[in-house]
């Protein structure tokens, strides 16, 4: 947090090194969120590109109300929404996704795990975009409900409700996994 404040200060002084550092620090979070929300690798990269270039163009006049991370990731989520991807659902190729804690030694368990991953992915895609976005921002990106609420210009209760509805729906869909 302190580092981010320092980086923002340096940006305002004209430091391109600070810009590069911010990009290196948050590029993976931004791409992961864009990929999860857009379900399209190329579109996700384009969204990160547009977001970061836009940030670079206006950062000298930026007055942050939340953390830098929250700002960047909410920008990504908003751009995905603006691109219309919130209305498109597709089942993602899961061949390269593994859940780290599981044991892959047994071939049978590998099959089961792939099946479980497929179901989790399908369940997430069934969520309305508003709920999906909050679930990703909170669980994947680690943002606080308060920050998400500020950046969405809604009350924290609304954000917490969307999250709770999302989790409840996932629980119902995944009850047999």
């Amino acid at each position: 947090m302190f580092e981010d404040k320092w980086l923002i200060w340096k940006l305002k002084q004209g430091s391109s090194d600070a810009l590069c550092r911010i990009y290196e620090k948050y590029k993976k979070d931004m791409l992961a969120l864009a990929s999860a929300l857009a379900n399209d690798k190329t579109l996700a990269e384009d969204i990160v590109h547009d977001c970061f270039v836009s940030f670079a163009g206006c950062c000298r006049n930026l007055e942050l109300r939340t953390s830098l991370k929250s700002y960047l990731l909410t920008s990504v989520a908003n751009r995905v929404r603006n691109s219309g991807r919130d209305k498109i659902k597709s089942v993602e190729d899961i061949d390269e996704i593994e859940i780290a804690d599981l044991d892959f030694n047994q071939p049978q368990q590998q099959v089961m795990n792939n099946e479980r991953v497929r179901k989790i992915n399908a369940a997430l895609l069934q969520l309305p975009y508003d709920q999906q976005e909050i679930v990703f921002l909170h669980l994947q990106s680690g943002l606080k409900f308060r920050d998400i609420a500020i950046l969405h210009n809604v009350s924290i209760n609304t954000i917490q409700s969307r999250y709770r509805y999302g989790i409840d729906k996932l629980r119902t869909i995944l009850k047999e996994v």
Binding site: K28, S35, E45, A56, F136, L139, Q140, R171, L174
Partner: protein, 331 residues
């Protein structure tokens, strides 16, 4: 049936695994960085050219109407001078506000290129100078007041030391910034417009007791495009400064695997200005091109030859300690 905590844990694990597996296409990664830096630079230029508004705007506007009326009469008499001053002011401000700055310096003698170097400054911290062929470099750390002369081909380096604080930063030292500052405060002449590398530029000229300086500034960005410096006492000598880059990334240099040579050079004199450093590099390149070998630690005679080459150029030699133990044999 899952509880809330368990479902959160499961989704979190899934999303984290997914996060670990995402990677950028390398070309996209480069594009994002490069486009962002361009956008950032553009915003700096825009802010340099746009005066800041404040809450007193309305009150000031009334006063401005009065001032503008008086100003119009002045502009009518002294047409163009305001725009020119603005362009020089913004050019200087961009350099002063820069975090990093780089430019090429070419010294010519009777129109033949004597030496060319690339200068890179990191504000208040480092200056790095590369010879055009990449075989020599100087890095100077302003905080430690010491630096290194690096011989890339031979993988050797020489220590540069100074007893005085040099503070070699682009804001307060060297020809380019000093001359540019002089332009902003002294009376200069508009010498016309032309194109450099396809870009429209406007030229200004300034003369003092030592030299005549022409500077060409890009009309669209107010970024310096070319400086031409002619020395009154040395009419055959010219310095050209171009390829200005503001806020580009500077890369760290590692001297791991490099051999330290037991020789010290007085940084204070060598780093006095662009002309001296170009001559210094030029003499080293000439020395090697004429069959000279950058010596290993035990070859005092070759060190002496370098010292001789430098002294022939009236450059400070400052070779100490090690050479004191050898008989210097000049070729």
């Amino acid at each position: 049936m899952f509880g809330t905590k368990k479902i959160e844990k499961l989704i979190k694990e899934y999303l984290n695994a997914k996060k670990d597996s995402v990677t950028f296409n390398p070309s996209m990664h480069e594009k994002i960085l490069s486009d962002s830096l361009k956008a950032y630079e553009k915003s700096i230029i825009a802010s340099a050219g746009t005066p800041k508004t404040n809450v007193l705007f309305i009150k000031l506007a009334v006063a401005a109407i009065i001032i503008i009326t008086a100003g119009l009469a002045f502009i009518h008499i002294n047409k163009n001078s305001g725009d020119n001053k603005d362009m020089l002011r913004i050019a200087l401000q961009q350099i002063n506000d820069a975090h990093t700055l780089s430019y090429d310096v070419t010294t010519t003698n009777n129109d033949a290129i004597a030496a060319k170097t690339k200068w890179m400054f990191k504000k208040a911290e480092f200056v790095k100078i590369n010879s055009d062929d990449g075989s020599f470099a100087i890095i100077f750390d302003n905080k430690k007041n010491e630096g290194y002369g690096i011989l890339s081909q031979e993988k050797k380096y020489i220590e540069l030391q100074s007893s005085n604080t040099l503070n070699i930063t682009f804001e307060n030292s060297f020809l380019i910034t000093r001359k540019l500052k002089a332009f902003s405060v002294q009376k200069n002449t508009l010498i016309g417009k032309k194109k450099i590398d396809g870009k429209d530029v406007e030229g200004f000229s300034l003369a003092d007791n030592d030299c005549v300086v022409n500077i060409w500034i890009e009309s669209s960005t107010a970024k310096p495009a070319l400086m031409e410096i002619e020395f009154i006492k040395e009419p055959s000598m010219r310095i050209l400064v171009n390829d200005f880059n503001i806020n580009t990334k500077m890369y760290a240099v590692s001297l791991k695997d490099y051999e330290k040579l037991p020789i010290q050079i007085n940084a204070e004199s060598v780093l006095e200005n662009e002309k001296h450093i170009n001559e210094f590099f030029g003499s080293l390149i000439r020395y090697r091109n004429n069959g000279g070998i950058i010596p290993s630690q035990n070859n005092g005679t070759e060190f002496a030859k370098i010292a001789w080459e430098l002294s022939n150029q009236n450059l400070p030699v400052g070779i100490t300690k090690y050479l004191a133990n050898f008989e210097i044999v000049c070729p």
